[in-house]
């Protein structure tokens, strides 16, 4: 076994500075005072710290590593993303996964450590890491190449992949309307201002396009969880508008709605149509499978990686437009035309 060697965390602790500072000194960046620079160099010497230069292919300055950064609370769609990355990056490039947690600044620190220690060629950031403004700012100032998967634009990256949540929700409403539904309940997936809830926007736009007036009493608040979906369903069921369909903004909440319906003896989809925003594996774990709208993450990741690798050889000031991804509906057995007279 090799003897234990110093890590960047130990260097930072010994020098009494942030990881970011260690990283700046090692990469000869500006913005560090001469005194601090010397303190860090002393700690590096004392601890015999050596960043992982052998991770690079020695014949070139490229490391041939892509790093995928996501939140520890991420769900299984990460695995789909990894498949997409692997198929686009090929056998010559390898993937580091960094599952982060904690405050936004803790995430910045973790990514700094990753960049300094393993020197990936580029990063692929999944939400909510992709929406971490201090991180994006730091990557831009360091000139790190990265791809973002998010519902909105942020930072200077030339590789932005936009997931159009509003369009997805609108499509689902359009689908329900095409089945004959007009009273459609909606369960929001998180707290926060309505103006930032893209799925709610999409729901409203879908109604507007169908000439159905928006009824605020048909919108309930959930928090993404199963229990909140079941509770919201109970509130909607006592609504005087009597919704014939419920659209939940997360898969788990939709399963909660199904559970509520089961307890009340409501037959699905004859007496109530239920559908979700998500398209996770959960939708396939019930019978009949849940009608859902969501993104093809494997395909999205492939596109992101191809763009990242193209941009690597890209010279010039022109920034390519973001790639926009539309969601697709996967019809299951939980939606149908409303029963006549209901």
């Amino acid at each position: 076994m090799k003897s234990k060697q110093a890590t960047i965390y130990e260097v930072a602790a010994a020098a009494g500075v942030a990881i970011k500072t260690v990283s700046r000194v090692i990469n000869d960046e500006t913005g560090v005072s001469a005194a601090t620079r010397e303190k860090v160099r002393e700690a590096v010497r004392q601890l015999s710290y050596r960043p992982n230069r052998d991770a690079r292919n020695l014949a070139s300055s490229r490391s041939h590593f892509l790093a995928l950064v996501f939140d520890e609370a991420a769900s299984q769609f990460v695995i789909d993303i990894e498949h997409g990355i692997a198929s686009a990056a090929g056998e010559q490039r390898h993937v580091i996964v960094e599952a982060v947690t904690g405050s936004r600044l803790a995430v910045v620190e973790a990514v700094e450590a990753l960049l300094t220690t393993s020197r990936p060629d580029c990063l692929i950031l999944l939400p909510p890491v992709a929406d971490n403004a201090p991180l994006i700012q730091r990557l831009d100032s360091r000139g790190v190449r990265y791809a973002r998967l998010s519902t909105r634009l942020l930072g200077n990256s030339s590789c932005q992949v936009l997931l159009d949540d509003a369009d997805a929700a609108q499509k689902m409403v359009q689908y329900l309307v095409s089945l004959g539904h007009r009273e459609i309940g909606f369960i929001r997936d998180k707290e926060g201002p309505e103006t930032e809830d893209l799925r709610l926007h999409g729901y409203k736009a879908g109604l507007r396009n169908a000439g159905i007036s928006f009824d605020p009493s048909l919108v309930e608040h959930g928090n993404g969880s199963f229990a909140s979906g079941a509770y919201a369903a109970s509130l909607l069921s006592s609504n005087r508008a009597r919704p014939t369909a419920v659209f939940a903004a997360s898969d788990e909440m939709a399963l909660g709605v199904l559970s509520f319906a089961g307890r009340k003896g409501l037959s699905i989809p004859d007496q109530l149509s239920v559908c979700s925003f998500g398209n996770s594996n959960l939708t396939q774990l019930v019978w009949p499978p849940l009608t859902t709208v969501g993104f093809s993450y494997s395909l999205i990741a492939q596109t992101a990686v191809r763009r990242l690798l193209t941009v690597a050889e890209y010279i010039g000031d022109e920034v390519p437009a973001p790639s926009r991804f539309a969601a697709e509906i996967t019809p299951g057995g939980t939606t149908a035309s409303p029963a006549p007279g209901s």
Partner: protein, 337 residues
């Protein structure tokens, strides 16, 4: 030292396997004759080969990389492994490289590609890939410390992390017996997986030691929702069906629940369903799934810890016991008041 000389070259000229070369040059134990030892050493000296040469050439730097190599199709399981391993890596200033080798075809070549391009501090092999001799031998011959997750048996020069699958399956089956079930079906996993065999053995042991006569029905699935659904439909589609079904993983148990819903049997009133894993979805299906909590994240965390330990951890089995998690999908057999 000539760095272009590989262990394979030494092995080829010596007429022995790369693994033997590795063992001889690292002065590891026995398993080769005196004449083999002499020949390998002579060839290595002549070619100027020294084990772990690339690592020595780069002795001025160090590797902060640990690889997780897998061919497992269960996305939930693989994600848990990644989260456990990445967590411990981050805490220790290391980073996790993942390598999916698909369905095992060309697994050796793909792992070789990873080894050629990187220098690893160590590697973790997930099941069922951990059973692949060629992959294990390659890692050993390259001098990459290796921890195997849930292997069927220990292998020299590697470490392993295991849980007591058999004991857990026994406990789960006893739970069903204690509820009065006497027609119990077991839907096992594919024959290739060591964990599947252990879980089946645990089920059979519990049935055999029951004080009253119990009819046991065995079916083989492939750990997918679909196979649980298909076997569930077949088992529950007639009046003489089992009163309890123990599926060797959660995905198949979800399939059984779906089958029960289709044939309009209530859970647990008409049939009890038991899983194995305690995946996140176990709390989201209705009724919630009674299952065995497999500490997958902790196992991956412990695997990284073993690789980072100064010395090999002994014993190689960590005392991580799976735990029976009783929820709403199991209940008394119908005949019991």
């Amino acid at each position: 030292m000539n760095s272009s000389v590989t262990i394979e070259k030494v092995a080829q000229i010596s007429g022995v396997s790369a693994k033997t070369v590795s063992r001889v040059l690292r002065h590891k134990g026995s398993g080769y004759s005196e004449s083999t030892r002499a020949k390998v050493e002579a060839v290595a000296a002549q070619l100027g080969y020294s084990p772990n040469g690339s690592a020595r050439a780069l002795a001025s730097s160090q590797s902060f990389l640990i690889a997780l190599i897998f061919d497992n199709k269960n996305a939930g399981y693989v994600l848990e492994l990644q989260l456990g391993a990445a967590h411990r890596c981050r805490q220790s200033g290391y980073h996790l490289v993942i390598k999916s080798v698909g369905d095992g075809v060309d697994a050796v070549e793909r792992v070789r590609g990873l080894l050629d391009a990187t220098r690893l501090h160590g590697a973790i092999l997930a099941p069922p890939l951990c059973e692949d001799r060629a992959v294990v031998d390659l890692l050993v011959s390259r001098g990459v410390p290796c921890v195997r997750i849930a292997p069927s048996a220990d292998r020299p020069s590697t470490q392993s992390i295991r849980i007591d699958d058999r004991g857990a399956a026994r406990a789960a089956t006893r739970h069903l017996l204690s509820l009065g079930h006497d027609r119990i079906a077991f839907i096992g996993g594919p024959a290739r997986g060591p964990a599947a065999a252990e879980r089946r053995a645990g089920f059979e042991e519990a049935i055999a030691s029951s004080s009253r006569p119990v009819a046991a029905i065995i079916r083989l699935g492939d750990f997918t929702f679909k196979s649980g659904l298909d076997h569930g439909m077949e088992l529950l589609g007639h009046d003489e069906g089992p009163t309890a079904i123990f599926a060797a993983n959660d995905e198949m148990a979800f399939g059984v629940i779906a089958a029960a819903n289709q044939v309009r049997l209530g859970i647990p009133h008409d049939v009890s369903v038991m899983g194995f894993d305690d995946s996140p979805a176990a709390r989201v299906v209705r009724p919630q799934l009674t299952t065995v909590r497999q500490p997958v994240r902790e196992m991956a965390d412990a695997a990284v810890a073993q690789l980072l330990a100064e010395k090999a951890v002994s014993p190689t089995r960590l005392p991580m016991e799976p735990e029976l998690v009783i929820r709403g999908s199991t209940g008394f057999a119908r005949s019991v008041p």
